[in-house]
């Protein structure tokens, strides 16, 4: 980072914790960056002449006489078209061996969009995965996380979604990615020949956790450049937000803040909302869509991280393994896209919402039949048909390895309905049955 004329240097630290250092300094501004013994840090608290800095890469090896120099400005990212196709670390520095980016220097974590100037999201984002497109349709400008246990292949699903989505730019914000997953993303983007529209900000598990706190703001500053300045459709992928929240709790803990639920900082809701609310449909046509990953602990959505996330995002996509078919499916009961009705039947075929509801309702009947079976009660003919239906529905539609168009999903659903049920049993409107029912 360039040295500036008014740079001020100090060499006397008063206190050191694992994530923060405190010293006496004058004329320091809030949120300003500094280096402490060569490590990047940010001002988080001032009290009289005493200044507390959060050291992103941890304070290991920092002595009390470390050199602290203040840079006079908050963290920034240089934005320009040169960002496309590049890989960066949490500080926005290239990690792919390429040249530095030239362009306008922008502060990250900037102001939010005036809610009155937003537009209602209205563009379908097809992913090819029926568990998403058919049952939980995504819309541009939406923010939605995958809720998944750590053993689910959420990163693969997300890479698939990103590469199939019809967007101008894909921005990956990787927080605490394992090196393997980082290379996986890199290889899949390269293999798809889509590198020129992808920008990645990556913090791997090998790097210090506190650095992760910069990733979402970096990724979203780049996203805002392309969406607001260039009127492009931008898809932002954030994985894994649970690790981001963990980093928040580390810092607040080191600053002696009183923790609230699940030892998370009391400001967790606002901290997460600041990130997710960057998703927007702009009046100029540009948009930012956010797909995130929140890993769960054994499916527990009442933990503070998924719970706060659920209150902020517009739905959630729930991945789980289906023991009956051995597939990983998008759970039709616990998943929800709050914006789906904005595009279903409007940008997709008229039968979309009825077929979706019938499919899920019959799948629910199958679950009831399964419970009856497990409790040792007799199954009716309808119950048996439901169970068979559920297997085929899971394999051909709910499974994440499906890749077909929305039209094909609807046709497949009609085909499976006809195989196991009468039109009346599906409860679909007569007019639609007359038009689409596939007599077997």
């Amino acid at each position: 980072m360039a040295t500036k004329a008014f740079q001020r240097t100090y060499t006397q630290l008063q206190a050191i914790t694992k994530a923060t250092v405190t010293l006496n300094a004058k004329g320091v501004s809030n949120d300003e960056l500094a280096t402490v013994g060569g490590k990047l840090a940010q001002v988080v608290k001032t009290k009289g002449d005493s200044v507390t800095l959060q050291v992103f890469s941890g304070t290991e090896g920092i002595p009390t006489n470390a050199e602290v120099s203040f840079q006079g400005a908050p963290p920034t990212l240089r934005v320009s078209d040169q960002l496309a196709g590049r890989f960066f670390n949490a500080y926005g520095h290239p990690i792919d061996g390429g040249a530095d980016i030239e362009g306008e220097e922008r502060e990250i974590g900037g102001p939010s969009v005036n809610p009155y100037k937003r537009r209602q999201p209205s563009q379908l984002i097809p992913t090819g995965i029926a568990g998403i497109d058919l049952n939980n349709t995504l819309v541009s400008g939406q923010k939605i996380p995958f809720f998944a246990d750590p053993d689910q292949p959420y990163n693969q699903v997300m890479a698939d979604v990103a590469l199939r989505a019809d967007v101008d730019k894909i921005i990956l914000g990787g927080m605490g990615l394992s090196n393997d997953d980082y290379l996986f993303f890199r290889h899949s983007f390269e293999a798809a020949g889509a590198l020129d529209k992808i920008i990645s900000f990556v913090n791997t598990t090998e790097e210090p956790p506190v650095e992760r706190l910069l990733i979402p703001d970096m990724a979203l500053t780049a996203a805002e450049y392309f969406a607001a300045d260039k009127n492009e459709k931008v898809l932002v992928l954030l994985t894994d937000m649970t690790l981001y929240a963990d980093a928040l709790s580390i810092v607040s803990n080191r600053m002696d803040q009183i923790p609230s639920k699940d030892s998370m900082p009391g400001s967790l809701y606002s901290d997460l909302a600041k990130i997710y609310e960057k998703a927007v449909q702009l009046p100029s046509g540009g948009s930012i869509t956010i797909i995130a990953v929140t890993t769960l602990n054994d499916g527990d959505i009442t933990h503070a991280i998924p719970d706060n996330t659920g209150y902020i995002t517009e739905g959630q996509l729930f991945l789980r393994a289906d023991p009956d078919t051995g597939k990983v499916i998008v759970d039709p009961f616990r998943s929800l896209s709050r914006l789906k009705q904005l595009v279903q039947g409007k940008q997709t075929r008229e039968d979309h919402s009825q077929v979706m509801n019938a499919g899920v309702r019959l799948y629910a009947d199958a679950q009831n039949a399964k419970t009856k079976l497990e409790n040792g009660f007799d199954l009716s003919d309808y119950d048996l048909r439901c169970l068979d239906y559920a297997k085929e529905y899971a394999v051909r539609l709910l499974s994440i390895d499906v890749n077909i168009t929305v039209e094909q999903m609807l046709d497949t659903a009609w085909e499976i309905f006809a195989k196991y049920f009468s039109p009346a049993e599906t409860g679909i409107k007569q007019a639609l049955v007359d038009k689409y029912w596939k007599a077997s």
Binding site: S29, D31, E107, G266, S270, E277
Partner: protein, 580 residues
Amino acid sequence: MSTTGKVTGIVSNLVTVAVDGPVAENELCYITLGGSRLLAEVIKVNGDKASVQVFESTRGLKNGDNVEFLGKMLEVTLGPGLLSGIYDGLQNNLTTMEGVFLKRGEYTDPLDHAASWEFTPIAKPGDKVVAADWLGEVKEGWLPHKIMVPFSFAGEYTVKEVAPAGNYTIDKTIAVLTNADGEDVPVTMIQKWPVKVAVKGYREKPRPAKIMETGVRVIDSFNPIAEGGTGFIPGPFGCGKTVLQHAIAKQGDADVIVMAACGERANEVVEIFTEFPELIDPHTGRHLMERTTIICNTSNMPVAAREASVYTAMTICEYYRAMGLKCLLLADSTSRWAQALREMSNRMEELPGQDAFPVDLSAIISNFYARAGMVVLNNGQTGAVTFIGTVSPAGGNLKEPVTESTKKAARCFYALEQSRADQKRYPAVNPIDSYSKYLEYPEIQEYLDTTIQKGWVDKVLKAKNIVRRGREMADQINILGDDGVPMSYHEAFWKSELVDFAFLQQDAFDNIDALCPMERQKYMLDCILDICERSFEFENFEECRTFFKDLINTLRQMNYTEFQSPKFHEYEQKLKIQLS
């Protein structure tokens, strides 16, 4: 000379200021940062150090920056033109701001100073008046907007002159009042009032004695909210809190609706901007937006302003109440407001209460709910502020401080339930746990007796009991199996399903079912109770299930058809045949 100070400490949006003179709790100040001024509010004073919460991001602020105290608390500007307004939590007009992104330190005027209003005088020279008395009236769209003696005027005044009928802008003097000391005070159409102080200026605040209709059956019949009453809706995410609240906003029988979007999703507010101007108010036939004011402080907007937003919204309601109007305040969600309090309390290093919330949370919530209510004005007319807040309990667990504190303060409780939402039984209001204390008020019982029918409350309690019994039966059936229980268990269970499916559930997206007037609610409940009072003979439980499922289907079709239309009577006939 006003007090000034210098910044001496910063933690996020909590700033400590060394002051050179007197400061008051809740006094406002401007902190100069480069070319802009950031608004902040004093929340604690210790010696010459004042702790202030800044309503904006404090990025770039330095120790030593200048602070100027304003000698007043956070105020709202009240006057004609508030209706249909879209404001942030500090009452900045969002529609007149430039640029797509919010700019720090940009404050816009809430009212249009160029617009002219057609004024008609009410008071006459020589009249003795006190604060909140009506001096004149302008037409704000369709609404008679009273120009009042400012709420801040203490003691009795004599009207010296009132402007004649005509068109005036809001800054024009429309009356001159003389106070007890003989000084003349000019009055314009606008006045200011500190948001954290309740507006008085009424004769008395009696117990509510009327029901506010919402068109939602599970509210109006089962758990009615009174005009001037308070209620709250807790529920985990995905249970339909927002849909229910929007339904109340669209259908609630009120003259003025103020929606405070407090720390919630921006896209939900966009939905209101997009839909409300198109939708028609069922009570007046006018566009919904004409009676709606939106206070919008979404989750990504500054946290301190979130706290202010609910107070701003309440003050606007109280202002319209003083004109003798019925106002409805909807706040989504009060949990976000409580979280904003928690963040500040945390930064001030106060000793925390439960879940790190401030210890006085309960008192703050009660005080706020207490500002709602029906009032009798000095001139004998009545006005009301009805308040419904949503609560977002962490993890859907109702045993958390915000829900518990709110339960103590609010008189109606609409518990949204995950399992009902999972079964798509909307609105997912739990019929057993939810309650309305107003059903126990003798005034309200009398009101229901005269406006609906004698003994209405007993009917409602009877219906509730059917549902409660049905739940018990369902538990038994689940444990013992369909064949393991007597037929009467099945019958009781299906009667409760009948009440649930045909009365409690309601389709908020269906044009007809979404709004169910009281007359229709009475008709349907009578019809359903009549069925439930009969006893039936069934061979087996399959027959029982089919019989009731068919009845449910017919009753639901009735809900979907226009009341008393030929089609409606057709279904009614069908029902008679099914029952014979």
